[in-house]
C-alpha cells in the first residue's frame, strides 16, 4: 500500500470550472441555430459532476467549449478564475470513440503523455503500472488496441488520460455503445479510479443509472437550446458498489426526481415536434413514472 501511495496521482486544490451565462449559436442571421442558451453552472473542484440531458440537447457542444476547441458566442468560461482561450493541459477530454493509438501497445499508449513531455521517469513507469493494474489490464500491457475488447479499450483510455494528472478530466459519454454488463463493470472501474484521486471530474451521459451511480452532483439539462434545469446532490457514500447503490433510498429518490425532470423536458420537445422524445415518453409511461404521459395532440 505504501508503495502505491507514491504512484498515486495527487489530488490538487485546483480545477474548478465556472460556466457563466454562456450561449453558443452556429450560423448567422435567419439560419442561425442556438445550441446553448444562457447556461450557467460550476464544476466544483475535487468532485465528480455528472451532466445528463436529452440526447441531442447540445451537451457535446458544451464539451467542445470546455475543452477550448470552440469559443462561446457570449458569456465566459473560467478555470480557477482564468478564462479558457484554447485547449490546455489542465483539462483532458476523453471522447466517445476510442482514440487509442492502434500502433502502440496498451502500455505505450498509457505512457504517451509522459513521454511526449519528456517525462519517461521511473515514477511515471510505476504510475503506469499502478494504473494498468487498477483498470484490470496488467495482463494486456503488451497487446495492441485492436486485440482488446471494447470495454478494455475504454479502460485503457481512462488510464491514458489519468496518468497526465490533469486538473480536470472531462468525459463525453465514454461508455456509450458498450453492452449493459460491460457498462456496469466500467462504472466500478471508473469510480474506483476517481475515488483514488478525487480530482475534478466532469462526466456527460444520457444514461440515468450511470449518472446516479457515478455522481456527487448531478446537473440536469433542458432540451435544445440547452441550459441548466436543476442541480441535484447525490449523497451516497464512497466507495460505491453496484450491489448497494440501487437499494439506497436516497439514490432512488434522486433518480426519480431526475427522471421526472427529464420527462418534462421530453414532453416539451415532443409537443415542439421532436420525434426523438417519443421513445423516452413511452418508456417513462411504462414504468409508471407519471400521469403526465398523455398524448400531446
Amino acid at each position: 500500500m505504501a508503495d502505491n501511495n507514491t504512484a498515486r496521482p495527487a489530488a490538487g486544490k485546483v480545477g474548478e470550472i465556472r460556466v457563466d451565462n454562456v450561449s453558443k449559436s452556429y450560423g448567422t442571421g435567419l439560419f442561425s441555430k442556438t445550441v446553448v442558451h444562457n447556461c450557467s453552472f460550476t464544476i466544483e473542484r475535487n468532485k465528480l459532476t455528472v451532466m445528463i440531458g436529452p440526447s441531442g440537447c447540445g451537451k457535446s457542444t458544451l464539451i467542445r467549449l470546455l475543452a477550448g476547441f470552440e469559443k462561446p458566442s457570449s458569456g465566459s468560461i473560467t478555470i480557477d478564475g482564468k478564462p479558457i482561450t484554447g485547449p490546455g493541459k489542465d483539462r483532458l477530454v476523453v471522447f466517445q470513440e476510442s482514440a487509442l493509438f492502434p500502433w502502440m501497445t496498451t502500455h505505450d499508449n498509457i505512457m504517451y503523455g509522459p513521454r511526449a513531455r519528456g517525462e519517461d521517469t521511473p515514477q511515471a513507469q510505476s504510475q503506469a503500472k499502478f494504473l494498468l493494474e487498477k483498470v484490470g489490464l496488467k495482463a494486456f500491457a503488451k497487446k495492441y488496441p485492436p486485440q482488446l475488447s471494447g470495454g478494455m479499450q475504454r479502460r485503457a483510455e481512462l488510464a491514458r488520460a489519468m496518468i497526465n494528472n490533469p486538473d480536470v478530466m472531462i468525459l463525453d459519454e465514454p461508455f456509450r455503445g458498450l453492452d449493459a454488463m460491460s457498462k456496469e463493470l466500467m462504472w466500478e472501474y471508473y469510480s474506483g479510479l476517481y475515488e483514488e484521486s478525487h480530482r475534478t471530474n466532469f462526466f456527460i451521459t444520457t444514461d440515468i443509472d450511470e449518472a446516479i451511480f457515478l455522481a456527487d452532483r448531478l446537473i440536469v439539462m433542458t432540451n435544445i437550446p440547452t441550459r441548466v434545469r436543476a442541480v441535484l446532490d447525490v449523497n451516497v457514500p464512497r466507495p460505491r458498489r453496484l450491489a448497494n447503490i440501487f437499494d439506497n433510498e436516497h439514490a432512488n429518490e434522486v433518480k426519480m426526481q431526475a427522471l421526472s425532470l427529464l420527462h418534462e423536458e421530453a414532453m416539451k420537445s415532443f409537443s415542439g415536434g421532436s420525434r426523438a422524445a417519443a421513445d423516452f415518453i413511452e418508456a417513462y409511461a411504462k414504468r409508471g413514472g407519471g400521469a403526465t404521459a398523455s398524448n400531446p395532440h
Binding site: 485547449p87 493509438f101 502502440m104 503523455g113 513531455r117 486485440q147
Partner: protein, 275 residues
C-alpha cells in the same frame, strides 16, 4: 521452435496449398497439351500452338541453370530494381509526408507532380539517356520513376487520412509538433507506405524489363544485360524456349521481392497482424 515447424507443416499441407498445387499442375498440363496440338490433332491451335511446350522449356532451363550469363541477367536486373526502388523510397516517403503535412509545400509541388505522374516511365527513356552519363544510371532512373509516383501518392493519401481524433488526443496530452509527427503521423502512415512500396516494387519490375529491352546489350557503353535483355536476345536469336524461361524468371523474381516486402512490412506494422 517445434511450434514454428508445426506451423510450417500446417501451411504446406493445408487445403489452400493443395488447391494451389492442383491449379499449377492443371495449368502446365493444359499448356503442354495445347502446345503439342499439332502432334495430337494434326493442326496447331492458334496462339498456344506457337508456344514452346513446358517440357521443352524445362529442359532448356535445366541447361541454363549452370550458365553464368543467365544468373548475371538475374543479378543485373535485381540490382537495377533495388537501386530504383530504394531511391524511390528514400526520396518519395519524405516528399509525400512533407506534402501531406505542409499546405504551402503541397501547393507548390502538387501541380507539377500531378502533371508528371501520368507520363509513363518508358516515355522517359530517351530523356533519361540524354540526362544521365551512363546507361546504367538511365535505366535506374526510369526504374526509380516507376515506383516513385506510386510511393508518393500512397504516402500522401495515408498521411492525410489520419483520424483527427489522434491529433486531438496527442495535443491534449501535451505533445509537441515534432512528437506528433514522429509518434503519430509516421506510424499511422506506415501501412500506406507498405502498400505503396509493394505496388511500387511490382511497377519497377515492369519498367526495368522494358528499359533493358530498349537499351539493348553493352553496345552503348553500359554493361547491358539483365532479364529483359535476356528475353529480347532470345527472341532475336530465335530460342523461343529461352523467352519463356526469361518470362518465368521475372515472375519468380517479382514474386520473391513482393514476399520479402510483405514480411518486412508485417514486422514494421505488428498491430495489423491477426491474433
Amino acid at each position: 521452435m517445434s511450434k514454428s515447424i508445426a506451423r510450417l507443416k500446417n501451411r504446406l499441407f493445408s487445403r489452400a496449398s493443395l488447391r494451389a498445387c492442383i491449379a499449377l499442375v492443371v495449368f502446365v498440363v493444359l499448356w503442354e497439351i495445347g502446345s503439342r496440338s499439332k502432334q495430337w490433332l494434326g493442326v496447331s491451335l492458334p496462339w498456344i500452338g506457337q508456344v514452346p511446350a513446358p517440357s521443352a522449356v524445362m529442359s532448356v532451363w535445366g541447361d541454363l541453370l549452370t550458365n553464368r550469363g543467365y544468373w548475371e541477367s538475374w543479378y543485373l536486373s535485381l540490382v537495377r530494381v533495388l537501386a530504383g526502388f530504394i531511391a524511390a523510397m528514400v526520396v518519395g516517403i519524405p516528399l509525400g509526408l512533407l506534402m501531406a503535412v505542409s499546405k504551402t509545400f503541397s501547393g507548390l509541388t502538387f501541380p507539377t507532380f500531378e502533371v508528371l505522374r501520368p507520363i509513363p516511365p518508358l516515355a522517359w527513356v530517351p530523356v533519361a539517356i540524354i540526362f544521365w552519363p551512363t546507361q546504367e544510371l538511365s535505366i535506374a532512373f526510369v526504374t526509380f520513376l516507376g515506383a516513385f509516383f506510386t510511393v508518393v501518392i500512397n504516402v500522401v493519401g495515408g498521411a492525410k487520412s489520419i483520424d483527427s481524433r489522434y491529433f486531438q488526443a496527442a495535443q491534449a496530452m501535451g505533445a509537441s509538433q515534432w512528437d506528433i509527427f514522429r509518434r503519430v503521423v509516421l506510424p499511422a502512415t506506415l501501412p500506406s507506405i507498405v502498400v505503396g512500396s509493394s505496388v511500387g516494387m511490382g511497377i519497377t519490375w515492369n519498367v526495368v524489363v522494358a528499359a533493358e529491352m530498349i537499351s539493348g546489350g553493352g553496345s552503348s557503353g553500359g554493361s547491358g544485360g539483365g532479364l529483359g535483355f535476356f528475353i529480347w536476345n532470345s527472341y532475336v536469336g530465335g530460342s523461343y524456349e529461352q523467352i519463356v524461361v526469361g518470362m518465368i524468371s521475372i515472375g519468380i523474381a517479382g514474386y520473391a521481392c513482393s514476399e520479402v516486402l510483405r514480411a518486412v512490412g508485417g514486422l514494421a506494422t505488428p498491430w495489423l497482424r491477426q491474433r
